[in-house]
Symmetry: C2
Subunit: 356 residues, 2 copies
Amino acid sequence: MGKILHYFGAGPAALPFEVKQRIQKDIIEYEDSKLSILELSHRSEYFSNILDRSKTLLRELYAIPDNYQILFMAGGATLQFDAVPLNFSGKAKYASYLDTGFWSRKAGKLAKKYLDVKFVAGLIDHANEICCLSSSEWQVDAQSAYLHVTPNETINGVEFVGVGNVEVPVVADLTSCMLMQNIDVSKFGVLYAATQKSLGIAGLSVVIIRNDLLGGASQITPDLLRYDLHVENNSIVNTIPVFACYVAMLMLLWVKEQGGISVMVEQAKLRSKLLYDAVDSNSKLINNICKKNRSTINVAFTSNYQGVVTGLLDTAEKEGLIGLQGHRRAGGVRASMYNGTSIDAAKKLARLIRLA
Amino acid sequence: MGKILHYFGAGPAALPFEVKQRIQKDIIEYEDSKLSILELSHRSEYFSNILDRSKTLLRELYAIPDNYQILFMAGGATLQFDAVPLNFSGKAKYASYLDTGFWSRKAGKLAKKYLDVKFVAGLIDHANEICCLSSSEWQVDAQSAYLHVTPNETINGVEFVGVGNVEVPVVADLTSCMLMQNIDVSKFGVLYAATQKSLGIAGLSVVIIRNDLLGGASQITPDLLRYDLHVENNSIVNTIPVFACYVAMLMLLWVKEQGGISVMVEQAKLRSKLLYDAVDSNSKLINNICKKNRSTINVAFTSNYQGVVTGLLDTAEKEGLIGLQGHRRAGGVRASMYNGTSIDAAKKLARLIRLA
């Protein structure tokens, strides 16, 4: 392996080095199972312990109340974009989707196959700055089975924390902010996250659902998308992605060892502040998100000066800072900093941003 | 790690040791990417090469004609049980399912949500032996959009090879016999397989589909279950399970290095013959599948003598042969021998079966 490298990719995300070392060991033999973690049966006691431990850790880290179930499901967030409406549409006709950017719109668009979707404005333009409306300003139709929200939008780097008191159950896509935001679970009906950002690798999602919201699935819901079936079978409806569950457990353990979610939140604030301060200090660079809604996780910016963005990306790559290209729909620069990103990486990048 | 161990689990299955070693190396850095294989972006050139290479290898190994697409999709076979009918039900009303056991019945049962399903008898009782009907005896309704078949049933160990000439497109679940049966792809409309048996780890499926069968998806099909969308996006509809795709590539490479599918088929025949000969030589053991339809992959048997099954399982475990418990629905003994299982493992087990 060459020089030290810092990875700012949007996901699959950087993993802590010690987690990779632990995985490397378990590829040959997991605990005393005499099997590789890759060979472990989803019906073995070893795996049952992995699932139980993951649930206990997540319940502890987020103080998840007893009336919520924790599920592990194959597939990523886009599959949940269909699963969420399918699990409500057996009983419900309407759903609301808070529009805060690309991902929340995509979620709403997919839900239209099953429900009448009403988009709720979530952003406002304040003197050339984009801000999130506060939850008291959301116009939510009371007939909605739920309000879907995306607390962190990765493409433009927009974030809001907390949902206040909404009349209908709130469903949140935490894919890009899981374990990186302080969340009061009791304010939500359903929380879901694909695991490839803060919980390991791609191909798995975690779903947290309040008991009273189970049982509303439409008859056309594929078995592997049914929340109730996952509750009944302790997430083992078929051969679950064993390895992805195991990596999620390691990430949960790692977060606990680091001091829990409040520590993760502080580090995200620290890393992103280093970058935003550098962007704001450089008159050639633009970030037009208002300060209170700048994402602490995905820092996106661009420039109207020719060559500045490509120059910065080139210099960064030479210094071992990679994965910084903006999303293909947005261009510019984007630094995605999940829990595996060190403060040191942010410092190095901040220095280059100041010099750009 | 303790003494040499032989694993006969039904899946996730045993992986060749050299494949595990290669994975172990790539956990820290994949090629010259400076990233772990676990961190690699699904939109990177490295991953694009993994997908291309996997497709080329599979196309070569099975001589897949140009008018078939190869797709990689998140989730296992149970998700495909819903995906198959959903991808036909936009245009079709009827489907036929060949009943050869638990898995084919389950596939048909799930399809009933979307189509009118007709079960076709696939098994017959011949003087206390269970046999598969030959394809010329299948009673397939010509109105069916497709006939679904399961060439290898893992629970009772029933296998048939080849489908002859069926009037409607044949859809086959190859999850448990992928890369272990000689198959003339041109006789099929769709072939699919979850990857945790012969193609690596759980959480991914490979789908091979003839071009003219694309475009029939019903409006209610979740995006991540649409075959046409996967074709349009070269399988990257969202963040695909990168690591599972990489392990599938390693398994395809490994099969090619071993000499290709014909070698895999011969080894499966050899391993299973060792076991069936031992079972037949022991009057205390029962396997009631007729010889031509005994699975070369999953060898299942039981005993009417008290203590024989548990005695054999205990002895086997002491000798390092594990994962031999029959399926929880069938009981008895089951040896699942996918491509990662050595001839030596089968020899050791055959010796114990003779002594049981």
